[in-house]
Symmetry: C2
Subunit: 309 residues, 2 copies
């Protein structure tokens, strides 16, 4: 991952609601070391951010000229320091310009982005950096990028800037239906990890059937009930039902994006989830490129390069 430019040693942090991940990047952008802690911002007491940071990343900051850039909910109202949302369209330059400096020249939080459509705002925090990192990895200035998850983000990039985006609560709807709805009675006992349930193998046929029904056009309000009715008539086995439900919610997400056949979609995330999206996108006639979640470190490296400049 060598780059032409050299930048300061970078401590790159992704500090979210439920976890804290960090990477130490060399001046050329290569990852020298990574650390992860279950220390999401909700676990940090008021005023406790400097101490948590020093305890877990203080040694990395001892490197001469070290710079720390942080993405994620650490920049929210409940975080370390609020980094107000930057309005779209926005690119690397805007992010670098609107950093919220915790310690001038040394520790900064990357702002999230906001976008307004139909009189309603939408927001992201952290995904913007993943998107820009993905763009660099792709070497493309234009792309339609999806970051699937609890709250999926669909991001339209043109000329290297995020032009528009939309949040879809796909993973959360899956978890709500799977855990708390009447459908939970039809489904097998819950796996430890919700949404993508990585320890449960996907039943491809059931997943495809869920996607296919969702793509036919009915609302999830209606199609979700089919988990129950199909089970009632013994046409859906409990072991297939979570895959089928996953297909229904992901299919609803894709249908709502109204993709033209042949659309190219870049899916950024962990392999299990990007695999599901690629499978569902194929039913829409879309062409998919999958990228791992390492895009965040690359994005922070690019922002750091702009600060050094």
């Amino acid at each position: 991952m060598a780059l032409g430019r050299r930048v300061r040693p970078l401590v790159a942090l992704d500090w979210g609601t439920s976890s804290l991940r960090g990477a130490r990047l060399a001046g050329d952008g290569s990852v020298a070391e990574e650390r992860a802690f279950p220390l999401g911002i909700l676990t940090v007491p008021p005023g406790g951010f400097p101490a948590v940071f020093a305890a877990h990343f203080g040694d990395w900051m001892d490197a001469p000229g070290a710079l720390c850039l942080i993405v994620g909910m650490a920049g929210s109202q409940q975080g370390w320091l609020e980094a107000p949302y930057c309005r779209c369209p926005a690119g690397f330059d805007e992010l670098a310009q609107w950093l919220a400096w915790v310690e001038p020249g040394r520790i900064a939080i990357v702002p999230g982005l906001s976008f307004e459509a139909d009189g309603v705002p939408d927001v992201m925090r952290g995904e913007e950096t993943q998107v820009f990192g993905a763009l660099r990895l792709l070497g493309a200035p234009d792309a339609l990028i999806v970051l699937p998850g609890t709250h999926s983000k669909w991001v339209q990039v043109r000329s290297g800037r995020i032009e528009s985006f939309a949040t879809l609560m796909t993973g959360e709807f899956y978890a709500l239906l799977r855990r708390h709805s009447i459908l939970a009675r039809t489904l097998p006992a819950e796996d430890a990890e919700p949404h993508d349930e990585p320890n449960v193998d996907l039943n491809d046929n059931a997943f495809d059937a869920g996607v296919a029904l969702a793509l036919r056009g009915a609302s999830l309000l209606h199609t979700a009930f089919s988990v129950r009715s199909l089970a009632l008539f013994k046409r859906l086995q409990p072991a297939q039902a979570t895959s089928y439900l996953s297909g229904l919610v992901i299919g609803e997400e894709l249908r709502s994006r109204a993709l033209a056949s042949g659309s190219v979609v870049v899916v950024v995330g962990d392999t299990r989830l990007t695999g599901r999206y690629a499978r569902a996108l194929a039913q829409c006639g879309a062409v998919t490129h999958c990228l791992g979640a390492q895009a965040t470190w690359r994005g922070l490296h690019e922002i750091a390069a702009r600060i050094a400049a």
Copy 2:
């Protein structure tokens, strides 16, 4: 509510998942007395249905020639006696023909209905009797009827028979989002009764705004997130947020029905909920007739008339 025909004294029961309601009807169909108990089928131990019935309605059954007809989940696999689903199209005659007799000639359970579309079955239990009762109250052989609730039913009736129907989990989605999702953090402390929250006054403007956004065409997966983003920018007050969310889910339900402007929709249910639907349907350009939930007793009276005949 006098009718031309005279039928046997009728003990009409609506025995659902969470409640047991009964009415004693005179031979002319008029309601002489009503009772309600928190004795849904989930509270009845295996084999306990005859005893619960005798304890709460035995006195009514002492009337000479008394007939008991039961609708609802008492006819499900977990109920008193399974009454298999009758396939659509179906009318009063099919319901009367396929009664499941607990005690021949004396106590019977009305079958639910099933309907298949796109290779997926849908089911109802109890609503079919409400629909037929509503038809009699309307004096119309054709109608588009919606019974809003935890699981809303949209029912197309032609020539006095239910031709097709669809279930939408609107009320349940509302409750899931309101109680268990990330949006719950934005919403005020929960009222004792979910979904329609009858003790909370509707904020008309917020409700209308939710309906309007949903009707514009984006999926609820996306529009639901606006509860959070609008609150983040202080453009939605907590006191308005439940009304706004209610508008989003009901609006999604209506959009998915693709109603032509000028459509006539009959809404059957309690006043609070039918009022919300009428308000939302007006935004779709639909014409609404509202009817109270008493339609069940009228429907059972009509079935009883066919047995007596």
